[in-house]
């Protein structure tokens, strides 16, 4: 696996355009649970621009998934507004693709047929469809498992299958909720490389929820740090690493180390200060 270099000189950086894809403007979201109003997120101001990979990190239950849900149009904000390409929208936003935390594969379809589903919906059939599915299966490393049902494969394989399905329908924006959580280090790295390549190559905009602080910096154009509760944005880190990056070697660079250290301090202030003190002694 030496080809982790994410470089493609033909592609002109799309970020120069800085066109906003999703904008959250002073967004609050409250849910009525067990007879009481519960604020999931409050005062969220966030703009995700064309071609950016924006990672969202923060403790569980601080409303990261809630933001993705609102971008997908699952529900409107309680106050404030969510815009897509400068316009408000009502109902499902079919311009985004959503890879949820649960894979939501169809249990009666094999791995192959699950990935083929969005292509069938588009009206693609026969050899063209099969070829595309095989490409995607190769991409996520599921060769040999085409005929397995979701119940027969591991959690990581289900995630990869869901990722292949998401890529199969080729939406202009990807919403991903901990997509690589259950994967081993190698598979995770190769899919991260692939995601960055797709984002760069096709100008896909990505919102990416993760609990992995390394991943949050390594993939990001910008990293949004949440704190709870109620969830709000604590800081937005501009990740000024080169847009075309080598995901292995970037980890040894000083800027990367600085950024991840900063993120660690934000996420676990007590822990990191303890470690720092011990190191002084």
């Amino acid at each position: 696996m030496n080809t982790v270099m994410v470089s493609d000189n033909i592609v002109t950086p799309l970020r120069s355009a800085q066109r906003a894809v999703v904008e959250f403007r002073n967004v609050d979201k409250r849910f009525f649970v067990n007879g009481a109003w519960n604020t999931a997120v409050e005062r969220v101001d966030l703009t995700v621009s064309q071609g950016q990979v924006v990672t969202l990190v923060g403790p569980s239950g601080c409303g990261k998934s809630t933001l993705l849900n609102m971008a997908a149009g699952m529900f409107p904000p309680s106050s404030g507004s969510v815009l897509y390409r400068g316009e408000g929208f009502v109902g499902l936003n079919t311009r985004v693709g959503y890879m949820t935390q649960q894979d939501h594969l169809l249990p009666w379809r094999t791995v192959f047929n699950n990935i083929a589903l969005p292509l069938e919906i588009k009206g693609l059939s026969g050899a063209a469809r099969d070829q595309r599915v095989h490409e995607l299966i190769h991409l996520v490393g599921l060769e040999g498992f085409e005929r397995y049902y979701p119940a027969q494969v591991s959690g990581g394989m289900k995630k990869r299958c869901a990722l292949a399905r998401l890529l199969a329908y080729d939406p202009e924006m990807l919403l991903m909720d901990e997509p690589f959580g259950a994967l081993d280090a190698q598979m995770r790295l190769s899919l991260q490389v692939e995601l960055l390549r797709i984002s760069r190559h096709l100008g896909k905009t990505v919102m990416f929820v993760t609990h992995d602080l390394d991943e949050a910096i390594a993939l990001a154009s910008r990293c949004v740090v949440f704190q709870g509760r109620p969830g709000h944005i604590a800081e937005i880190i501009d990740v000024d690493l080169p847009a075309e990056r080598d995901l292995v070697h970037i980890r040894f660079g000083t800027r990367y180390v600085q950024l991840t250290q900063h993120l660690w301090r934000l996420m676990a202030p007590e822990l990191t200060s303890m470690v720092a003190q011990r190191e002084k002694q």
């Binding site: 997908a72 169809l106 009666w108 939406p171």
Partner: protein, 261 residues
């Protein structure tokens, strides 16, 4: 299920049957009047006689026709109605108390009315069976359609699936599980319906054979009829199980795999 648990199960089953037959054989005439329980050899003899004379096949074929035709009709209409109503939430809400009321009614109570409406011929038995099967399959399919995962439907909507694609690719496949639960439940009821119909008003079918034998104090003949009915029920159940396996291969895979977290 674990292999160790399955092993030897069949020996035990055969042993139980043999045990019952032996107790039956020795108590008949010694402890209990044979008029009430006949005797194993008598029943075998009677069954053989019915088989040789062709009477068994004649009556069994009528019962099979009544229950299978009624089953097919009821299952078809029940499935279609279940899917339709499952998709029309408002209508379902309006009809709910009526359906539940009808469902709670002992269906046997409707047999006299069915005779009045459809006579004492084949139609009456087939329709009577169909009515019973319809209710079971309908309610199960209806519940199944309403329990389809909303998340999965939403995922497909995000893929820009049309309503008919959602119906074909999510709603129907996930309702199949429930539909088959209804079908499996219906098998004994289909037989009950057919045999009740034959007992009440007929001169053919296993139900008629049963009433005819008891009317003549032919206890062996009655037990022979019961045996035939049990065999038929076992065959029907096996048929439903096989078609279930063919229609839902993923279920099979699920039950075959080792239990794990």
């Amino acid at each position: 299920m674990m292999k160790a648990q399955v092993e030897g199960v069949w020996y035990w089953r055969v042993a139980i049957i043999v045990g019952i037959v032996i107790v039956w054989h020795f108590s008949s005439g010694r402890l209990v009047n044979p008029l009430f329980i006949s005797a194993p050899l008598e029943v075998l003899n009677s069954l053989w006689g019915l088989m040789v004379s062709g009477k068994l096949l004649f009556h069994a074929s009528y019962t099979a026709f009544h229950s299978i035709a009624g089953f097919a009709l009821g299952a078809f209409v029940g499935t279609v109605a279940g899917i339709t109503l499952g998709r029309m939430e408002r209508l379902a809400l309006i009809l709910d108390p009526f359906l539940m009321g009808f469902y709670s009614l002992p269906k046997i109570a409707l047999a006299p009315l069915f005779i009045l409406w459809f006579g004492v011929g084949t139609e009456m038995k087939v329709l009577f069976v169909a009515m019973i099967v319809f209710l079971l399959v309908f309610l199960n399919t209806y519940t199944g359609v309403r329990q389809v995962s909303r998340e999965q439907i939403t995922i497909l909507r995000l893929m820009q699936a049309s309503e008919s694609q959602i119906l074909r690719k999510v709603v129907l496949p996930s309702a199949i599980t429930w539909m088959f639960a209804g079908l499996r439940l219906s098998v004994p009821y289909a037989l009950i319906g057919a045999i009740m119909g034959e007992m009440i008003a007929s001169n053919r079918g296993l139900g008629y054979l049963l009433t005819d034998a008891t009317a003549q104090f032919d206890t062996a003949g009655a037990f022979a009829g019961l045996t035939a009915i049990i065999i038929m029920a076992v065959i029907f159940n096996a048929m439903v199980r096989v078609s279930e396996r063919l229609a839902m291969p993923w279920k099979e895979m699920d039950s075959e795999r080792e239990l794990s977290f």
